[in-house]
């Protein structure tokens, strides 16, 4: 297999960075086309890097820390919001399942017989009970649905 770069290239780059040149390495660079080419590119880029450091004005690390803390809080909030969304979905599934179960059970009681047996105060009492139960369900669901609407429109 053809060797595509000189094995001393890393030593040359290291010597350029540290300034510690051996006479053998200098001699090698003078004779090796790969190493002299690498040195040329490295010197050009090194000069550019030094110039870049002069122009570089990184922000105070305090702001980085503040920003990372803010991001951490946002991530935690997002995770919590996702958890709440899952709980909401489970609650909705539970309400639907409970309603289906209740209606099926009620139908099994042979509604007509029950309805014909109820009259006067008994039917009024049953109707009021159903209305109170519905009011409770709606009152419980209303804040959840409203919150979902706000979160959904805020995205």
């Amino acid at each position: 297999m053809k060797q595509i770069s000189c094995e001393h290239e890393t030593d040359v780059i290291q010597a350029l960075r540290t300034g510690e040149w051996t006479s053998e390495l200098r001699l090698h660079v003078a004779q090796c086309q790969d190493c002299s080419q690498a040195l040329r590119v490295a010197e050009a880029l090194g000069g550019e890097a030094r110039r870049a450091e002069i122009h570089c004005n990184p922000p105070d690390p305090y702001w980085i820390l503040q920003r990372s803390r803010r991001m951490a809080r946002e991530i935690a909030m997002l995770r919590m919001t996702r958890l709440l969304a899952v709980m909401r979905a489970l609650a909705a599934i539970y309400v639907v399942a409970a309603a289906v179960w209740f209606l099926r059970g009620y139908a099994a009681l042979q509604f007509r017989e029950v309805a014909s047996a109820m009259h006067g105060s008994a039917s009024m009492f049953a109707l009021m009970g159903a209305m109170v139960a519905a009011a409770f369900v709606v009152a419980g669901l209303w804040p959840i649905l409203r919150q979902s609407g706000v979160t959904g429109s805020g995205r």
């Binding site: 590119v41 490295a42 820390l65």
Partner: protein, 177 residues
């Protein structure tokens, strides 16, 4: 030069909330932010992009759940985050234009700078990254592979090609004594 024992006490990601962690982060930042900015600026070709990505790199580092690392691993990890951010950005936007800051200094310096900038403009982002990591940061092929996500075996040939190409854009150098 940073003392090795101090560097060993550099921050563990996620521990920046403590005073010791904050001090560790400051030391880490002082030691790495300028080289990292230089890398980002030359790989992206834009100082404004480098400013943005520098902050993002450290934020991601602080939020990461990586285990405790020594100096070399931390440096390599930071360059890896920066490289990933560069790739994400280049996939989503067109940041190909290299900005030309106002030139200053003696004529030969300006010439050299123009030379290098012209060379960088001709290279692909991946080639700029490889050359910078190898020849400015002095990273080994394994470290470059870790930072760029490329296979360690392919670094040698990619770097060789990038160097050949870069060399072609540089004017012959004056012999230094």
């Amino acid at each position: 030069m940073e003392d090795a024992s101090m560097i060993a006490g550099w921050i563990t990601p996620g521990r920046e909330q403590t005073a010791a962690g904050e001090e560790g982060f400051r030391r880490l930042y002082e030691a790495t932010s300028r080289p990292l900015w230089g890398y980002l600026q030359h790989a992206s070709g834009r100082p404004d992009v480098a400013d943005d990505l520098l902050q993002e790199t450290y934020c991601k580092f602080l939020l990461s759940k990586a285990p405790a690392m020594d100096e070399a691993q931390t440096r390599s990890y930071l360059f890896r985050i920066a490289t990933n951010l560069l790739h994400n950005r280049s996939r989503s936007r067109d940041d190909s234009a290299l900005e030309e800051p106002p030139e200053s200094g003696v004529q030969s310096d300006q010439d050299a700078r123009l030379d290098v900038r012209a060379m960088m403009r001709q290279l692909k982002p991946r080639e700029r990254e490889l050359l910078w990591l190898a020849y400015v940061e002095g990273m080994s092929h394994a470290e470059i592979a870790a930072a760029t996500g490329l296979g360690a075996m392919s670094i040698r040939i990619l770097l060789y090609r990038a160097r050949q190409k870069a060399s072609g854009f540089l004017r012959p150098q004056r012999i230094k004594s």
